[in-house]
């Protein structure tokens, strides 16, 4: 082959690799699940394995949505009806496991993560996808808050369960996505898939990398249109965010979001968004909720108690605080973005 021809041939081959996909193939699929948009990306997996794994995850998410949503006739709804009677009953193993998993998180969060507020959620209308207000009246809110429902009111003995507090009604809305993402990762792991992202409507767990580079995650700016900061997945970790811009409604010029403060029975005020990183989705989910509700001077102690080191908190005035562990991980889109680094106690 003539030299020029050879050079061109080699050059063309190189471009062909780039243009035709020298990168690791990434299988991506999106669907509706758990009342949100589920997005799954699997890197370096053949199509058949990917489709099989995603079908299994999808089936599990449907099961969770049917069984763990207290306003459908599933096992959680049945459990809540029986809790209300005050008598002892046999709980379903699934509900029992959720209660056991959530209990230490409620305690560590000083009660800010409280999965027994189904009545409050319903009073505000946030049990529906399309909550439109108006807010409940003061008496309704006071009756629930003054009853102080908590997981501590639930007694369990083996698979038997009861509660003296009739206001205790389980709602794992601030927890189910975390548990679900952990289960999805287990499903992938069992199939030998170790490079993936499972994203449940902005709450996600990532593992491994994209093949040619790490998985890149953008954290949404709660007060802007785009991305506030970026980070990459390291190993296997969950990134969960609670934000006041998610579900909610406007009424008489006030925005009421869905993250309710168990102390007041009303939407928590003072925070625009909280993003946390933790290796466990359930813990990250509960922590994002609790730290969103926590007061400005209270959240570092709650984060420490819940075992969360990486926290990014945007206050409702737009000011940013983050822990040093988070500061090491994120890059702001806007260079030099003002923020305060907070050391955990």
């Amino acid at each position: 082959m003539h030299q020029l021809t050879r050079i061109l041939a080699v050059g063309l081959f190189g471009v062909g690799l780039t243009a035709c996909g020298g990168e690791t193939p990434v299988h991506e699929e999106q669907f509706m699940g758990l009342g949100t948009v589920v997005s799954i990306q699997l890197a370096g997996v053949d199509e058949a394995t990917a489709e099989e794994a995603i079908a299994a995850i999808r089936e599990d998410l449907d099961y969770i949505q049917d069984g763990w949503y207290p306003w459908r006739s599933g096992s959680l709804a049945r459990n809540n009806m029986l809790l209300e009677t005050g008598g002892e009953f046999t709980s379903s193993p699934g509900v029992l496991r959720l209660v056991q998993k959530a209990r230490p998180l409620e305690e560590a969060s000083d009660g800010l993560f409280n999965p027994t507020l189904a009545r409050l959620t319903e009073a505000w209308g946030f049990h529906e996808e399309d909550a439109a207000g108006p807010p409940p009246d003061d008496e309704t809110i006071a009756a629930i808050v003054e009853a102080e429902p908590s997981l501590a009111d639930i007694e369990t003995d083996g698979i038997r369960m009861r509660s003296d507090n009739a206001a205790v009604q389980l709602d794992f809305g601030g927890f189910a996505k975390g548990v679900a993402v952990d289960r999805a990762m287990e499903e992938l792991s069992e199939r030998g898939i170790d490079n993936a992202i499972v994203n449940l409507g902005g709450d996600l767990r990532g593992i491994g990398d994209r093949g040619d580079r790490p998985w890149r995650i953008g954290v949404q700016d709660p007060r802007g249109d785009g991305v506030l900061a970026s980070l990459t997945i390291e190993g296997d970790e969950a990134i969960f965010t609670s934000g006041d811009y998610e579900r909610g409604f406007e009424h008489d010029g006030t925005h009421y979001h869905h993250i309710l403060d168990p102390r007041t029975g009303r939407p928590a005020r003072g925070t625009a968004s909280v993003t946390v990183i933790h290796d466990n989705g359930a813990t990250a989910d509960a922590a994002a909720t609790a730290l969103f509700i926590a007061d400005t001077d209270q959240w570092p102690a709650i984060a420490r108690a819940m075992g969360i080191e990486a926290v990014l908190r945007v206050a409702d005035d737009g000011s940013i605080q983050m822990t040093s562990a988070m500061a090491e991980r994120v890059t702001f889109e806007e260079a030099g973005r003002e923020h305060q680094v907070v050391e955990l106690p």
Binding site: R216, G226, E246
Partner: protein
């Protein structure tokens, strides 16, 4: 160019044309197109370079999507909460806006993703 023959020139021109073609056909510049799904089925692929409005039917009723300046948004939706409308413009590959009650998802396509996933 010393040593270049007529045959080489043909190969050179063919190569340049092929390389240019490969780049032109390379998938995704960020935010070139958007995909609209209703109940998990793709119902439209829209060019973000073409400003205008599109009406897409969902189980709740028709939603109006607007394209302008290389971005897409829900302009109007039959849902009560209007979260999809409030989610604003989606411009970058991988960004999406969803109307869960109307089972409609709008996602910006493209391989040149700055982010694989958005945390929100």
């Amino acid at each position: 160019m010393k040593g270049v023959r007529g045959g080489d020139l043909v190969i050179l021109l063919a190569t340049v044309a092929l390389v240019a073609g490969l780049f032109a056909l390379r998938p995704g510049g960020a935010g070139e197109r958007a995909e609209v799904r209703v109940a998990d089925a793709v119902v439209a692929r829209l060019d973000l370079d073409r400003a205008g409005t599109h009406v897409v039917d969902g189980p709740l009723g028709p939603a109006r999507l607007e394209i302008a300046d290389g971005a897409i948004r829900f302009m109007a939706s039959p849902c009560r909460a209007q979260r999809c409308v409030h989610s604003g413009w989606q411009r970058h590959a991988g960004q999406l806006a969803a109307c869960v009650p109307n089972r409609m998802v709008v996602r910006v396509l493209g391989d040149d993703r700055r982010h694989d996933a958005l945390a929100f």
